[in-house]
C-alpha cells in the first residue's frame, strides 16, 4: 500500500479489518436487498441496519469523548437529534411545497406566491395551530444551507456549552449532570408548540424524499444504508487517525491526569473543547442520516435517557477501543429492537410470563452491571490480544 494512509493502515491492521468487514457487510446486504438482489433482506430490515450503522457512528464519537478524553457526556443525543431536525426541516418543507404546487396545478385559479407559502405553512404548522413560518425555518427551502446547519447548529451549541463548562473547570460527574441538563432543557423546549419545530409532533414523513415520490422505498432505503455505511467508515478512519496521533496521546493523558497535562504546557480546556465539538458534529451527521431512515423525529428522541443508552452501548462494547464502541452499539441496539419489537418469544413460567418488552430493560441493566464489574474492558476487550500483538 502506498502513501501515508497506506502506511497507517499497515501499522494499524485493525482499521483495515474493520473497513474490510464493513464493506463485506454492505455488499452482503446489497445482494440480499429487495432492490438489488435476492430479497432475503426486507426493506424494513435494511432500514433497521442502516439506523444501526448511524448508532455505531455516534457510539464512535462517544468513545472518543468519553473513552479517550474522559469526558462522560450524557448529552450527545442532543446533537444527534439536532442534526436530524436540521435535515428534517428541509425534507418536510420541500415535500410539502411540491404537494402544494401539485395541488395548485389542478386548481382553476393559479395561486400566488403568498398563497403557496401560506398553504405550505398551514400544512406543516396546522397541527400546532399556526400557519406562519417561525424564524428557525428561514433557510428550510435551501437544501445546502440546511445541510450546513446539520453540522453548524450542533457544533456551535457544543462549542458554547463546552467553552462555558470547561473554562469553569467543571469535570467528572458534575459535567455529566450538566450535559444531562442540556439535553433535557433542549427536549423540554422542543416539546413546546411555539418552539417552531411542531412541538411533540416533531417532524414526520422524512422517509419520503422530495421529488422522488415514485421511487420505491426499497431503493431509497439502500441509498441511505450505503450513505450510513460510508459515513461510519469515514468516521472510524478519522477517529482512529486522531487517537493514534500525538493529539491522541495528549487526549489520553488528559483523561488520566488533567492537572499534569497543564503543567506540561498544554491548554487542556482547548483540547477538551476540540474533542467535545468534533464529537458533537460527528453525532449530528449520524443523526442527519438516521432520521430520514426512521421517518420521524420528535423531542422524545433527545430525552436524557437516550444519551444514557449511548454510554451503556460504549461501556458494554468497551471504552477506549473504537471497534468496541461499534460492537456495543450494534449488538445492544439490535438486541433492543428484537426484544422490544415483539419478536422475542415470551417465556411462560406458569405462574408468570416474562414479557421481553417489559423485561428487556432489566436484562440490559443487569448486563451493564455485570460488564462494569467483571468485564471492565467490555466486549471489545476480548479482541485486545489480537490487536495489541499486531499493532505494537
Amino acid at each position: 500500500m502506498q502513501g501515508p494512509l497506506g502506511k497507517f493502515m499497515l501499522k494499524h491492521p485493525s482499521t483495515l479489518v474493520f473497513l474490510g468487514l464493513l464493506s463485506l457487510f454492505t455488499i452482503i446486504v446489497t445482494i440480499g436487498s429487495e432492490a438489488f438482489g435476492y430479497g432475503f433482506v426486507s426493506t424494513s430490515f435494511v432500514k433497521t441496519l442502516g439506523k444501526t450503522l448511524c448508532f455505531c457512528l455516534i457510539a464512535i464519537a462517544m468513545d472518543l469523548v468519553w473513552g479517550y478524553c474522559g469526558i462522560l457526556s450524557l448529552g450527545h443525543f442532543a446533537f444527534f437529534g439536532l442534526g436530524g431536525y436540521m435535515i428534517g426541516m428541509w425534507l418536510m418543507y420541500e415535500r410539502t411545497r411540491l404537494i402544494v404546487i401539485n395541488a395548485a396545478e389542478n386548481a382553476q385559479i393559479p395561486m400566488t406566491h403568498q398563497e403557496i407559502q401560506d398553504a405550505i405553512g398551514t400544512q406543516i404548522f396546522g397541527v400546532v395551530g399556526g400557519s406562519d413560518f417561525p424564524l428557525v425555518w428561514a433557510f428550510s427551502h435551501l437544501f445546502w444551507v440546511q445541510l450546513a446547519l446539520v453540522v453548524l447548529v450542533p457544533g456551535i451549541l457544543a462549542l458554547i456549552f463546552g467553552w462555558l463548562a470547561f473554562r469553569s473547570r467543571v469535570t467528572g460527574v458534575y459535567l455529566s449532570i450538566l450535559t444531562q441538563a442540556m439535553t433535557l432543557a433542549l427536549a423540554l423546549y422542543l416539546f413546546q408548540n411555539d418552539s417552531g419545530l411542531r412541538g411533540n409532533n416533531g417532524l414526520s414523513g422524512l422517509q419520503n424524499l422530495p421529488g422522488l415520490e415514485s421511487t420505491d422505498q426499497s431503493l431509497i432505503s439502500m441509498w441511505f444504508f450505503w450513505a450510513s455505511a460510508f459515513a461510519l467508515g469515514l468516521g472510524y478512519l478519522l477517529v482512529k487517525l486522531i487517537v493514534e496521533s500525538k493529539l491522541g496521546n495528549v487526549v489520553r493523558a488528559i483523561r488520566d491526569d488533567e492537572a499534569r497535562v497543564r503543567f506540561l504546557g498544554y491548554n487542556v480546556e482547548v483540547y477538551k473543547l476540540f474533542i467535545f465539538t468534533l464529537t458533537a458534529v460527528i453525532a449530528a451527521i449520524a443523526g442527519a442520516l438516521y432520521y430520514p431512515q426512521a421517518g420521524i423525529i420528535n423531542p422524545a428522541e433527545i430525552a436524557p435517557i437516550a444519551s444514557i443508552y449511548l454510554a451503556v452501548w460504549v461501556a458494554i462494547g468497551g471504552r477506549g477501543r473504537i471497534y468496541g464502541a461499534v460492537i456495543g452499539a450494534a449488538v445492544v441496539s439490535l438486541l433492543s429492537s428484537w426484544f422490544t419489537g415483539g419478536q422475542a418469544p415470551d417465556i411462560s413460567l406458569g405462574f408468570y410470563t416474562i414479557k421481553w418488552v417489559d423485561w428487556w430493560l432489566v436484562l440490559l441493566g443487569i448486563s451493564f452491571v455485570i460488564v462494569t464489574l467483571y468485564v471492565p474492558k467490555g466486549i471489545g476487550g476480548l479482541f485486545d490480544k489480537f490487536t495489541k500483538g499486531a499493532e505494537q
Partner: protein, 247 residues
C-alpha cells in the same frame, strides 16, 4: 547580579482562615540549585502551587524572567510554556503510554491542538528523546508502558519529562521519596547536572539528600522564610533547631 530569574515578593495566601503562606519572599537566579526544607505544613507545596499558577495568592508579586512578567494571573499551561517545569511529589507519568510517548509529549514543541494533531516525529526529536532516556537511565525501557516501570524509574521518567520541556526553572517536589540509596544517588547526579544549565528548586525532607546536593538551603516555617544559607549555616541556626531539627 542583574536581577533574579524568579522573584517572589511578599506573597500570602490563606485557606479557610489558615495562613498557608505568610508574607513570603524568595529569589532564585538562573543556573542556581536551591533546596527548600521545612516541617510538614510549612507551605512548601503551596509555594510551588503559587509559582506554577495552580493557586492564586491573596497578595504579593511573582515576577519572572528578564522582562519582569507577572505570573499571578497566568494559567498553568502558559506558565509551563514560559519555562517553569514542575515535578510532583507522587510520580505522575501517563501510565497507559510508553516511556517514549511520555517523553515525546513533554518535548518542547508547539502546544496548539492543530500543530499537535499533525505532528510528525522527526530525527531531531527522536535524538532528543534518546538523549534524555540515556541521561535518566531508561534507554532500554523506551517502549515499555510507563505503568510497568519501577517507582524509581517513574520518578526519573518524570524528571526526564521535565528536562524535555527545556524549562529555565525546575521545581522538584520530594524527588527522593521512596527511593533506594542507589536510586537517590542517581537522582542527585541528575539534578546537579540539570542545574548546570538551568535553575533548580528541590523540596526535600531527607537531610542526607540535601547534603549531597551541596547547595544553598532555604528553610520554610509557617509559610515564611525562617533561615537561608548553606546547610551547615542553617542547621546551626537556633530557630531552625527549635522548630524543625530539634524534634
Amino acid at each position: 547580579m542583574s536581577g533574579a530569574l524568579l522573584e517572589v515578593d511578599g506573597i500570602s495566601v490563606s485557606f479557610d482562615g489558615f495562613k498557608a503562606i505568610n508574607n513570603l519572599s524568595f529569589n532564585i537566579d538562573s543556573g542556581e540549585l536551591r533546596a527548600i526544607i521545612g516541617p510538614n505544613g510549612a507551605g512548601k507545596t503551596t509555594f510551588m502551587d503559587i509559582i506554577t499558577g495552580k493557586t492564586r495568592p491573596d497578595s504579593g508579586k511573582v515576577i519572572w524572567g528578564e522582562e519582569n512578567v507577572s505570573l499571578i494571573k497566568k494559567s498553568e499551561s502558559d506558565i509551563a510554556n514560559m519555562g517553569i517545569g514542575r515535578k510532583f511529589q507522587k510520580p505522575t507519568v501517563f501510565e497507559d503510554q510508553t516511556t517514549r510517548d511520555n517523553l515525546t509529549m513533554a518535548l518542547k514543541n508547539k502546544r496548539k491542538p492543530w500543530a499537535v494533531l499533525f505532528y510528525h516525529s522527526n530525527a531531531d526529536d527522536r535524538a532528543k528523546v534518546d538523549d534524555i532516556a540515556d541521561e535518566i537511565g531508561l534507554s532500554d525501557h523506551l517502549d515499555r508502558r510507563a505503568g510497568d516501570l519501577s517507582h524509581g524509574q517513574k520518578q526519573w521518567l518524570e524528571i526526564g519529562m521535565l528536562l524535555a520541556q527545556e524549562p529555565r526553572l525546575l521545581l522538584v517536589d520530594e524527588p527522593a521519596a521512596g527511593m533506594t540509596v542507589d536510586e537517590r544517588n542517581h537522582t542527585v547526579t541528575l539534578l546537579r547536572r540539570a542545574a548546570e544549565t538551568r535553575a533548580v528548586v528541590v523540596v526535600e525532607h531527607d537531610m542526607e539528600f540535601i547534603r549531597n546536593l551541596d547547595c544553598k538551603v532555604t528553610v520554610l516555617h509557617e509559610g515564611s522564610v525562617l533561615a537561608e544559607g548553606s546547610l551547615d549555616h542553617v542547621t546551626q541556626n537556633q530557630d531552625v533547631i527549635d522548630v524543625y531539627l530539634g524534634r
